[in-house]
């Protein structure tokens, strides 16, 4: 058998697969960010916090109402989406005329408030959330033991990512959305309610974050800090992929997950900065990101 720099192929395949799993989380989260930025021109810093809220909603449903994972998979994104719409209607919508920076500041503030509130209520150690019975156990692939749940995460998030991409790039509704970003006045003149569409888009974008939260709950601790850990990386993914580019977010998310997985084998100490090194290089060579267009 061949080996690469002293690393046996079994280990390498295992790590690549794990990278793909992490990458699918990055993809799902950065997809939501890309949709929101692409359609609303808002840099949504509250994304990580809403991901955390999604996980907490799942935990609350289980603990207080006894509703399990499959319910949470539907209800938590819905709850987060509604919360998002409320935030958009009450606060964010007032900032569209101003510079991007104001939206960023507002959402960053919201993120701090949400995290602070959950931290105050539930502490930082987090709450345990069990893997649903149907997805417990795993498969022995020869080169690694793949937990069923992680396989499910990859399938679920890839399906949703490509579904979203298809809806925005290939359907009539998506065409309206894209048109509304280019020229809202004209689209409104054709009788389409642009403000409602924008609210729904924001709701959908954050619902994706909520969904990622539910998917993450059985793997990580449901903890108020879980969003903070992830959001910076996800932003780097969006920047590398090109702000607002949906395909860019998906492809870069998966790609960086793989790259990070490899770093964990060859030089684990650098695993939390490799994404940013890539970001710096990409910004130097192609400032609009790999899939972005200069505006």
């Amino acid at each position: 058998m061949f080996s690469l720099l002293g690393v046996p192929p079994q280990v390498l395949f295992g790590q690549l697969l794990l990278g793909l799993i992490n990458g699918s989380f990055y993809a799902l989260l950065s997809l939501g960010l890309a949709v929101i930025f692409g359609m609303l021109n808002v840099i949504n810093f509250a994304h990580g916090a809403l991901y955390m809220v999604g996980a907490f909603v799942a935990w609350l449903l289980l603990t207080y109402l006894g509703l399990g994972y499959w319910w949470a998979l539907v209800l938590a994104p819905l709850a987060v989406g509604l919360l998002g719409i409320a935030l958009e209607k009450s606060m964010l919508s007032r900032l569209y005329k101003l510079d991007h920076l104001y939206g960023l500041l507002l959402t960053f503030g919201l993120a701090l408030i949400l995290e602070g509130a959950f931290r105050h209520q539930y502490g930082v150690s987090g709450q345990p959330y069990p893997i649903p019975a149907a997805l417990q156990g795993g498969q022995n692939l020869g080169f690694m033991f793949l937990p069923n749940y992680r396989a499910w995460v990859v399938v679920a998030s890839l399906t949703i990512c490509f579904g979203t991409w298809f809806a925005i790039e290939r359907t009539k509704l998506g065409a309206y959305l894209r048109a509304a970003t280019e020229n809202p006045t004209l689209v409104q003149a054709f009788g389409i309610n642009v403000p409602v569409m924008v609210s729904l888009t924001y709701g959908f974008g954050v619902a994706l974050a909520g969904l990622a939260g539910v998917l993450a709950a059985p793997i990580y601790q449901v903890s108020p800090l879980m969003g903070t850990n992830l959001i910076i990386i996800v932003f780097a993914v969006v920047v590398i992929g090109g702000m607002g580019s949906i395909l860019g977010a998906i492809v870069t998310g998966l790609g960086l997950g793989l790259l990070e997985g490899l770093t964990k084998v060859f030089y684990p100490e650098a695993s939390n900065i490799v994404v940013f090194v890539v970001m710096a290089i990409v910004l130097l060579i192609k400032p609009a990101g790999l899939f972005g267009r200069e505006r």
């Binding site: 502490g123 930082v124 987090g126 937990p147 992680r150 793997i219 990580y220 601790q221 800090l225 084998v265």
Partner: protein, 402 residues
Amino acid sequence: MRTLLLAGTALLTLAGTAIPAAAQVSDNVIRIGVMNDRSGIYADLAGEGSAIAARMAAEEFGNKVAGAPVEIVVADHQNKADIAASKAREWVDTGGVDVIADVPNSAAALAVQGITKDKKRIFLMSGPGATALSGAQCSPYGFQWTYDNYAMAAGTGRALYEQGKKKWFFVTADYAFGQSLEEETTKMVKSLGGTISGSVRHPLGTSDFSSFLLQAQGSGADVIGLANAGGDTVNAVKQAAEFGITQSGQSLAGLLMFITDVNALGLQSAQGLMLTTGFYWDMDDQTREWSKKFEAKAGKKPTMVQAGVYSAVKHYLKSVEAAKTDDADKVTAKMREMPVEDMFAKKGRIAANGRMIHDMYLAQVKTPAESKGAWDYYKIVKTIPADTAFMDPKQSGCALVK
């Protein structure tokens, strides 16, 4: 004339008794600064709970020692050594802080130790584990109270070795504490005749451990030693179960686990884990009573770090009372002279290197069936006597030991 003279003498005598008593305590107040992580991954095991524990100790003295009021101030070092250092400097230079307490996160504690040593301020370390704090970086004013990495390695490492787990792999948090814990455990395992099959370093605050666990799994080790703490340990244990590591015959050893970690994991995932602890709330009537009071204020049972803060602050205040001054040299002399006797430590004593020597406990996490309810988590498997629980001060590398 005569009466005036008398009155004058009387006044002078009065002043003579009143002023020096107060003057012996700098700026007339004993100020204790509790510094720790109040918002990050170590906030539950230390955080506000440590401040509550310090206040409980002060309340036992009626918030007053040697005629001066006791004041507790708090700060969040956010697990950053530079913030810890600048806050410590500010406290000492302008804040009138006499004692700094707790400081989990060994990197932060090492920074604070440098400052308290230079400025002659007492440093009561309950949170940090790096042995350097009572070793190469020891200070005549620094006391490591609750546990240290050697004690963890000696307790858990030896116990697992005796169960026949001889080949180790480490998953280590990549900073001062994790590296020190790995090093101590390595020494312990090797001295017993075991082997190390490898190690991997992860950044502090990692959420996904699967990659590291897979490397550990592939190493063929008997035991995967988790040389990390708090949220990192919790995530690693949880994901180890997911990847079938314990089912496939490898054991996990949480080299530093706190009761809040077990609480966060739930007994379902944590059951059977062996760990070493300096304190458990359910050991005797004294610990139960104190922990009940603590729970009423904090809403949860104390960790060993929080109980250690209480014990250290109490011993400090006792020593101030005995020395009748807050002069650091005189108080540390008293602290070293008097035994540490409270609900946390029985017949504890401070060694020349600043290590507080007391009994440690080897515990095993109960199964859900064994547990009678909330916080009923540990079975104390054995008491590790004070003499063997900690490193021999002569071997610590501390220049104060002669």
